[in-house]
């Protein structure tokens, strides 16, 4: 069976290597400050004993007060998964560092999040809308989007 890392344990490991990067943690996930998300994810990918070589899924949720970007990481060598989240407060001009340099698999998913949620990923090679056309008003997966 795939082992799911408990968020609290994961937070401890991250805290050791990247102090002050943890914003919050629960059993399900570790929540990282958006500014440090790239370093933390790079660490998770490169650390010998974690080895998260695959970005399984990348998504975002609109919680009205804040947006949550969720990284589902997978280690095929160790058969483990973990969930990393980052919270972006506010509703306008949201940015978070792109992880396309770590995982190519993030390319299309980050574009999709920008398209549907309106979160910009910095340093993404091709930050354009993907499912909708350029010039579409608004970002439809936001809770305040009105048709």
């Amino acid at each position: 069976m795939t082992k799911l890392f408990v968020g609290t344990e994961l937070a401890k490991v991250i805290e050791l290597n990247h102090p002050d990067s943890i914003a919050d943690h629960s059993d399900a996930a570790a929540i990282i400050h958006p500014g440090q998300i790239h370093e933390v994810l790079a660490f998770l990918k490169q650390a010998e004993d974690l080895d998260f070589q695959v970005l399984s899924a990348l998504t975002a949720v609109d919680y009205i007060e804040y947006f949550e970007v969720i990284y589902h990481l997978l280690s095929m060598r160790r058969n483990t998964r973990c969930v990393i989240k980052a919270r972006l407060p506010g509703r306008e001009e949201l940015t978070i560092p792109s992880v396309t340099d770590l995982w190519r698999g993030a390319e299309l998913q980050e574009r999709e999040i920008w398209d549907l949620m309106g979160i910009k990923f910095e340093d993404h090679p091709n930050m354009k809308r993907i499912l909708l056309w350029e010039g579409f008003p608004g970002h439809p997966l936001r809770k305040d989007f009105i048709r």
């Binding site: 069976m1 795939t2 399900a28 070589q53 695959v54 970005l55 399984s56 899924a57 998504t59 949720v61 609109d62 969720i70 589902h72 095929m76 058969n79 969930v83 995982w103 190519r104 698999g105 993030a106 390319e107 299309l108 998913q109 999709e112 549907l116 993907i130 499912l131 909708l132 056309w133 439809p140 997966l141 989007f145």
Partner: protein, 367 residues
Amino acid sequence: MAIKTEPITINMGPQHPSTHGVFRLRVTFDGEVVVDVEPVFGYLHRGTEKLAEERTYVQIVTLTDRLDYTASMSNNLAYVRSVEKLGGIEVPERAQYLRVICAELQRIASHFVSIGFMLQELGAFGTPLMYCFRERERILDLFEMLCGARITLSYMRPGGLIQDAPEDFWPALGILMESMPEYIDDLEGLVTSNEIVLARTRDVGIISPELAVNGSVTGPMLRASGVQWDLRKANPYEVYDRLEFDVPIGYQGDTYDRYLVRVQEMRESVRIIEQCIKQIPGGAIQSEAPFFVRPPVGDVYDAIEAPKGELGFYLVSDGGISPYRCKIRAPSFINLTVLRDMLVGWKLADLVVIFGSTDVVLGEVDR
């Protein structure tokens, strides 16, 4: 005298015979050679994720049918599993076995479609496609017995299935499973060692295992690159831990390997179904789950091995009767990440074949 040449840009699609629906590739050619590819998505975008936020958990099952419309059962399965995990719903054992049978039948049907269209794109004038569709038709007949529908099935519900299989389903399934290996042999006889197929597909459109893993590629495409990763074995869901099967892999991740892996997976699926027929117990097929599922507040991600790859649903519940957020991790969509790496440097004729071998379904890509 040097002749002045310049690259030519072609819009392949959205109306093109080889784009598997409505997909558009903006391709730049140097003569016949592809120098750049830019996929353009979204022609089939129906906002499934947004629609799901306004429907009850049971209603969303019908939405999932329309994602990968060649593999509705797998979509149903992935979705209801996520709901069950979120709501802590138990599933009776008989339903679990039936789900596995359906998912594997659907895998065979989906791989038939994939192989058939890849060969069509190779230029075989319909014959292999018809061979594939002939057998797929019989699987769809079985589905019709189960739930009355052939394509958009909606057979599964959180907590089980809508109804038990009818009496005459089992003999029909037995007959099909007996003849299926022969059919696959037929198809392989026509294709596998065909000189032209070999010339066209071997060493073409290679994805290295490193690129596949880095690009989040999953499913037969990943396994064709030699990475033995199958969620059915790595994280056995339903009753896969009680079943014996192998995970076929390819040598180097070229188009031919992707074809071969699919053929071998069909054989494994037949094996799985035969074991299921022997092992399936009696009993209920639906647990006492309420019609309006109200899962506790929280979020869950659960994935299964769909025919195209890792199909996952990320559900966020706010305690209501519909999900707060329903994210679909669509394998065909994410597999397209490596499209450019596969296509650049090959010829126009290879382009359509490589694209066919990735087995994308646009319903799932655009959602």
